[in-house]
Symmetry: C2
Subunit: 345 residues, 2 copies
């Protein structure tokens, strides 16, 4: 037993952050709250619905998402009031679906945002502007890149609930912030590291959801594992091509924050985006798939933005195009994937 | 229906090869025979056991491997005699387990080998020499690299049997040969492309089996999908590091022949190497796992060669080391993977 304990990674209980606000009540927000509970920290958790809050206070877990994650209520202050959640917090984590993030950001307002450190855990874009979250915060709300970071990495919330060894990457232009926040998130079952490629990591987190839809579409059309392996390899090539134009710099795309994140999403049977794609090619309408799943997959919105940026810069992305056509142009995925199969290699 | 037919990829029935010998009776050999049956070609198929041949002649499928693949017997000449299989063939495909390839090669002899075109479909090494197959053929049998190629790519034999759309890569120093043989293998359900990175593609085909064992070991130790995504990303980094030392040149590792091949093997529930790793960390001895599976996984042999080459060149490969220690040093994978988890990021 002793030798195991020696091998166990150790992390300090305390961090430089005293109070962190988590904005959002979904499964990823819940997983982040669970991770933060490992530290001596005050967590202000904003959830939209009062009855969800009442349930969490009574039973110690989220009634709707990640029910299996037991939460340490002594560290958590729950509120439906954004201002109340944010007031004392040095750092705000955004973890709402991308469709709602603009509303939340604008409710908080530029002045307050500029006075805080912002961490985005959102894997989607502001679709009205075709902007990733940090880009929107910088360009539209004048938040300094030095005060922002992105939480990325291959990390299913479900496995965080089970305390399975997982890895995160914190990306920021501010090295010190990235390292400090990575240390804050590191615990018994999380190893977080830092990097400085904010745009690369954030775009990759967005695009992986589109490729997961592509894998779901392919699966629904009875393409097999051989095809999927080629699809995912070609997805990496598309991501590389896209980033080379949109945000050129040296980056190692085989790292966990890029390739790992793509893999965990495209190869998961539980990925919502994959399920969504699968339902579409099995014949569900978008509306029925949405109703059946109780939500729309992030990739549904993201593919429009990424496709438009690709067209604007003339970037060749046949997989993105096949998904875009299947979803937004209502073209049957059968011929779309037959054409795509000819492009892939 | 018409529009579908138009979209269908077309390939000529005839090729420049009249007679091709396939050496080996396993599932990949059987899949290659099935693919070649799509063309106007004579296939000389060497199988060790006469009773397997009798069965195939009677029922039109291999009794032991890939039973679901129906074979066009009118195109196939079956024999247990190597010399008979090879005599009229312009091209010989080696598709035996790597443990037997040296014996087969030496039985044929340098003179005959030099007079043929050789294609290796073997995903292992000559372990006595720590050499990949094309390297051994060149250095020990004086076969010209201009007359050799490697069949690679993410391709489960099982999905070839089902005629699911799959992709192959033919690697050769001889561009024309690579293209010609790629065209020979392309058919209704196979798209084969060519490349000229023989060593890179062949090493990758060997190493992926070791990483599949690593994924199996991790799975058996109850690590989850988050961990596996990080493991596979780090595997790509190790492959890159290894090739940079052993065979430095420009190559795009995100292509199907490298990344795709790694993915199809590490993410398959049916991979023998993954199953082997899983059994070991569930407590099976190597001997019992071997007996239970009826064979030893290719990665079992490969990891010794790759580990030794790594040590010789001082290449940092923590995953290879963890697998090597777990298998050949008989160290429990539990502490090995705890140490590995600390290296990964």
């Amino acid at each position: 037993v002793l030798s195991y304990q020696k091998l166990q990674m150790t992390h300090s209980q305390t961090t430089n952050f005293k109070t962190i606000a988590v904005i959002g009540g979904g499964s990823w927000a819940t997983a982040l709250v669970k991770i933060l509970c490992e530290k001596d920290i005050h967590i202000n958790w904003w959830i939209r619905q009062q009855n969800d809050i009442d349930y969490i206070k009574k039973f110690g877990h989220n009634p709707r998402y990640l029910r299996s994650a037991d939460l340490n209520l002594s560290k958590i202050f729950l509120t439906t009031q954004l201002a109340e959640a944010i007031k004392e917090a040095e750092l705000i984590i955004f973890a709402v679906p991308s469709a709602f993030v603009r509303e939340v950001i604008e409710n908080i307002g530029a002045e307050v945002l500029q006075s805080k450190i912002i961490a985005s855990a959102i894997k989607g874009m502001i679709s009205s502007e075709n902007m990733i979250i940090t880009e929107f915060l910088e360009k539209k709300m004048n938040v300094s890149p030095q005060k922002m970071c992105v939480i990325a990495g291959p990390c299913h919330a479900e496995e965080v609930a089970m305390e399975k060894q997982s890895y995160l990457t914190i990306a920021s232009d501010n090295d010190e912030l990235a390292k400090e926040f990575a240390e804050t998130l590191s615990c018994r079952f999380i190893k977080a590291t830092s990097c400085n490629d904010v745009y690369g990591v954030e775009y990759c987190a967005v695009m992986k959801n589109i490729y997961a839809i592509a894998c779901g579409l392919a699966h629904g059309l009875n393409y097999g594992d051989n095809f999927q392996a080629v699809l995912v390899s070609n997805a990496m090539t598309e991501i590389k091509r896209f980033l080379k134009v949109v945000n050129p710099r040296k980056r190692k795309l085989n790292q966990s924050a890029y390739l790992g994140d793509l893999l965990v999403t495209t190869y998961s049977q539980f990925s919502r985006n994959r399920t969504f794609g699968n339902m579409l090619s099995r014949g569900y309408s978008i509306r029925s798939a949405q109703l059946e799943m109780g939500m729309i997959a992030e990739g549904y919105y993201a593919v429009r933005s990424i496709y438009e940026i690709g067209v604007q810069h003339n970037i060749k992305m046949p997989i993105i195009k096949a998904v875009y056509n299947s979803i937004h142009e209502r073209i049957s995925p059968i011929p779309e994937f037959r054409i795509l199969a000819g492009y892939l290699k």
